[in-house]
Symmetry: C2
Subunit: 665 residues, 2 copies
């Protein structure tokens, strides 16, 4: 496929004008950082000529139509060079000089690091080593999904080449021969607190990149003609190209040029600096829109595709239900893509891969690149489902954090949740994933307990904005919901209830089945028990929980997760400031597991049916009463009425305070 | 420094015996996986000859004295090859044949993936791409801390070379010329679900590694003589050496050898497989203990070192107090080491670096390698303090998760917490770190609000086991505690209290100062308010919170963090199943921040003094009462007694239920 050609030189500026544009970008970077009294002008100045030549002669981008599918993509992986980003936008006429001076002010869309609050910014950057792997995702989109000739240009810092995520990305791009991808590395030799490992030795980077099957070009990053030639050479390469540009941090201003200690702060004297730069040249640039007008590829829906269903009583793992559901969903929704990190046979994403090989992407064991690629793909409107073990999403935690800042829409599916995986032991157990995904801006956290519910939630995720997370279970669990049952996001299912319920067990996923078994046992022992399947952990079904609190007075949560940040915390947060505040006792994994069978693990962790039943008894018979005497305790228990918690005498407060709170509905 | 020499060949086995030992390891890997009905025998069989030759001729290790400082270190970065680990231990006489057959049983220390429950295992592995960077930390320890001739041998899988963390480690080891480090790469060409990117092309790996300044050797990984020569060559290299060994997954058994679909499961017929392997050879190996008897280096304490102090009223950032405290602590405790990820000027770890350059390690922007190195160093008894931005610890989340499984003792210090950093915007803000560190087995989470408290907690961390986390603030805050004040882990400080307090504000870090200001305003408005500094978020001071609940009835938590998983959840968890369950209203960051000044950020996030005062009023005047009418609400407010919450009428429950709970102490 031929990619967007560079602008004919006639349409660009001449060499002097290119240098003037570079000077303009420096002046504006200095000026806006001075206005903000913060920012990274020196890291912007080093790359100014690289960006000037790109904008004038090579970038194909319609600032008036940022959604034009044929636009090139320009990502500042070194997001701290935001003064340069915004200086470029001003030079291109996208923002005014006045708006540029709002840099870093409250309410300004010109944030300290760029975010997609600006229509020309694809993704938030600022955590180094992320913009480039996201660019790999966009380049994959261009070649394999959109099938359009756009190019992806990524400005990288030299410091960020220390991040492993960059090498995941170099490896993947080299392997995939992404000839539509150009990494422009601003080798200014100085990191935040001093020299980088390799300083100005662009050869050190070139050797590494060449070994990773990249085409490399070493240049003086302030020689506009050399820069121009490098971009032309990159366009002709049949491999991804890295331009290793030796530059001067703070170039053009003696007070800061190539000096340590000048990182991340305004220049000492902006006026003097601008004077030394030769004053404001008043230059603008016309960035050429793409010539190409082709529409993006779309895949064909399969009108015959049908989501799978199971019969109540079938035994099937939710991970398997997810995989089969996604394979079908891929037929119904041709924008769905699947991303695997070499565990598709475990997560069951392989079902999707077999059904839709043209929308399935293998990233090998490179979870950061996998998540980053998904972020890139959703920029172009694709709907990525990314699956790995729940535990291994923690490898990409910073990418997920930044994806939320990018307002990205991602569907992440974590299998092998909790101790219930069994023998493999704690390294493979997702025991902190609920905490991680709850503490994410705008996230949705789902945890199905059976196959039909999994299918419904997998499909529902396709309609959600932001980051949604589905937690699946390794082992088989019985199907308890009928085909066609609905599971709205933010809902729950009351699986067992009666007017006389004296306690509510709130469970999700694997523990729903344990809760149901415990409720059987408790019912037989005269303790009618409500069971709530809180499949939507965030948002949680506050309404149903409030009703349960009002009607049953006590709640026991049970989760296959550490005690912090998961279901228990989510349930308690519902009642935080309400007058009706039930007891919310929580069962969770409190000791480090080892190896054991799944059933043994649940038992050893104290989250199986037996532990649940015991916990229910503990809250139904307040511990302080059983302290009086064994006899008294037993009597109290025998006297309890099935009608509700009011049958249980509570000792008077020693201070005589009645106080607010309690079980008001 | 001369490293542990290989055993003289005379002490080892001859070529035939080496092959027999490889066969023994295969037989035992097959056998124990069969007993467990799970495990990874095929991934063990590919590396059996590599490990046989290492154990017989090159590894210097005293199984009877695993703490011998001169022992070599052998890490299975491909931790799923645990059958091979345990087969080796059996062959070396460290465990019995009977114990080997307990593999993966409940209670067995032979877990699905190795953990330090076994005295010969340095660190837990099983999340790929981690054992090797930890090995880099051990190799750094050997050269720069212990100054002992031990070698570090790491068995790596080929699949895990897709992880960026491996390339962070290769880069760092090459840069540091760690000639005491050998990576043995088991290139069996098959990952979990199919072929790796480079298959058996060991040259592809060799090119990459050579570019990263490694010495590389490509061999047939089943040719025991070639393996032996490679280890000898590695020992003679002045650079770190990678042995790229072409192997056959499942080697020796036709049913599984080099076959897809045979990953992570027992062999179809173990008896047949053992027969095909030639039966049990009954071979053992004597692993030679190290000749060296030198004691490990220790640094000299500075008896004159003194922890810094500040005067009440001074303005100083807690990050700065941390840096100065650690510099002094390094004098008092010569086992303390500091690890930086190129942000030491921001985290203030640079103070330590300047005071103790021989115990300061720069990892550039490679947070995974930084944390992994700390895990390696603590294996040898060093006490690592690792500092980066709070947000960027998320880059190493999986390493921190695994460190907890390793029962590692690490001190992690995250600066730039929360929106209060100001203009830099959300990419630099730690807003999920409390959730992440709370949901970690055995963790301690600390968040000081002033400089003297920071000093005390920084010093206290040195005495803690497990993973402790200190959250610091970017901007200056006033010193409110006197020199010498004590701050026990699990404690809190009641900063303001009186008999008539009607509400308690629970704050930590930056919000303590906002809470104090709000309390001033509330006091003036006739609402006496308790203020609690919950500097120990985990464990939290349940006792003081219970007293506050009993005496003030209502709690407002305020934190510079997302609402999930942080201080609010921690406080509510205290009251989960207790009869005294106060209102716990929580202020937290609920919208995505942009850029703004620190004070504006606190205001915009609704966690400043004004928002706190408003929240207190909301809980003191229950919202449902103000719903009756504006007039009624005002009347209620005017009638409130300063004496306590009992002055506030609560409407009767519509159902007439009084119920348990409420504000009993």
């Amino acid at each position: 496929m031929a990619h967007n050609p560079p602008n004919p030189q006639a349409r660009g500026l001449d060499v002097h004008e290119l240098a003037e544009l570079g000077r303009q970008l420096r002046v504006d970077a200095v000026r806006c950082s001075a206005a903000a009294s913060s920012g990274h002008p020196t890291s912007s100045m080093s790359a100014a000529d690289l960006i000037a030549v790109l904008a004038a002669r090579h970038l194909r981008y319609d600032f008036e139509a940022p959604d034009n599918p044929n636009n090139d993509h320009l990502i500042f992986s070194k997001g701290h060079a935001s003064p340069l980003v915004y200086a470029l936008y001003k030079a291109a006429g996208a923002i005014t000089a006045a708006e540029l001076q709002t840099y870093r002010e409250a309410g300004s869309r010109l944030e300290g690091h760029p975010t997609p609050r600006l229509p020309w910014v694809d993704v938030a950057t600022g955590s180094l080593g992320q913009g480039f792997p996201i660019g790999v995702g966009l380049a994959l989109s261009g070649k394999h999904l959109d099938r359009l000739p756009y190019r992806v240009w990524v400005l990288c810092g030299d410091s960020e080449l220390a991040e492993g995520s960059m090498w995941e990305a170099f490896e993947h791009a080299g392997y995939e021969r992404l000839d539509n991808l150009v990494a422009i590395v601003d080798v200014n030799r100085l990191g935040q607190r001093g020299p980088t490992r390799h300083g100005w030795d662009t050869g050190a980077y070139a050797r590494r990149l060449a070994a990773f099957d990249w085409h490399t070009i070493e240049i003086d990053g302030h020689d506009v003609e050399a820069i121009d030639r490098a971009y032309i050479e990159a366009a002709e390469s049949t491999r991804p190209t890295a331009i290793l540009a030796r530059t001067v941090k703070g170039s053009g201003v003696t007070a800061v040029a190539d000096r340590e200690g000048a990182h991340g702060k305004p220049l000492p004297d902006a006026d003097e600096a601008i004077a030394e730069l030769g004053g404001d040249p008043g230059v603008t640039v016309r960035v050429s829109p793409p010539d190409a007008t082709a529409a993006a590829n779309s895949f064909t829906a399969d009108s015959g595709a049908k989501l799978p269903t199971w019969q109540v009583g079938d035994d099937i793992a939710t991970r398997t239900a997810f995989g089969q559901a996604l394979a079908a969903l891929g037929g119904l929704r041709p924008e769905v893509v699947g991303l695997d990190g070499e565990v598709g046979d475990s997560t069951r994403l392989e079902f999707f891969g077999k059904a839709h090989p043209d929308r399935f992407f293998q990233f090998y064991i490179a979870e950061q690149q996998m998540v980053a690629a998904a972020v890139g793909m959703q920029v172009r409107g694709w709907s990525p489902y990314v699956a790995t073990f729940a535990a291994f999403f923690s490898r990409a935690q910073d990418f997920i954090r930044m994806a939320a800042i990018s307002r990205a829409t991602l569907r992440l599916v974590g299998s092998h949740a909790g101790v219930s995986i069994g023998e493999d032991g704690p390294s493979q157990m997702g025991l902190e994933d609920l905490a991680a995904f709850r503490a994410l801006f705008g996230s949705t956290v789902l945890y199905p307990c059976d196959a039909n519910q999994t299918v419904a939630l997998t499909a529902a995720m396709a309609g959600l904005d932001g980051i949604s997370y589905l937690r699946t279970t390794r082992g088989d669990t019985p199907v308890i919901y009928a085909e066609g049952d609905e599971f709205p996001i933010g809902g729950s299912r009351v699986l067992r209830s009666g007017r006389g319920d004296r306690v509510s067990i709130v469970a999700a996923g694997i523990t729903v089945h344990e809760a149901l078994a415990a409720a059987d046992e408790l019912e037989a022992a005269g303790i009618p028990t409500r069971v709530i399947d809180a499949y939507s952990i965030k948002p949680i079904d506050a309404e149903t929980l409030r009703r349960a609190a009002a009607e049953t007075g006590r709640i026991v949560t049970v989760e296959d997760h550490w005690p912090e940040g998961g279901l228990g915390d989510a349930v308690r947060a519902v009642f935080a400031a309400e007058r009706g505040r039930p007891v919310v006792a929580s069962l969770a994994v409190r000791e480090m597991p080892g190896s054991a069978s799944p059933a043994e693990q649940l038992r050893l962790a104290g989250i199986d049916r037996t532990a649940i039943a015991a916990a229910v008894r503990d809250v139904v018979i307040p511990a302080d009463q059983s302290d009086f005497s064994d006899e008294h305790s037993e009597t109290t228990f025998a006297h309890q009425q099935p009608g509700g918690p009011e049958g249980i005498p509570e000792p008077e407060s020693p201070t005589g305070r009645g106080g607010p709170g309690g079980m008001d509905p």
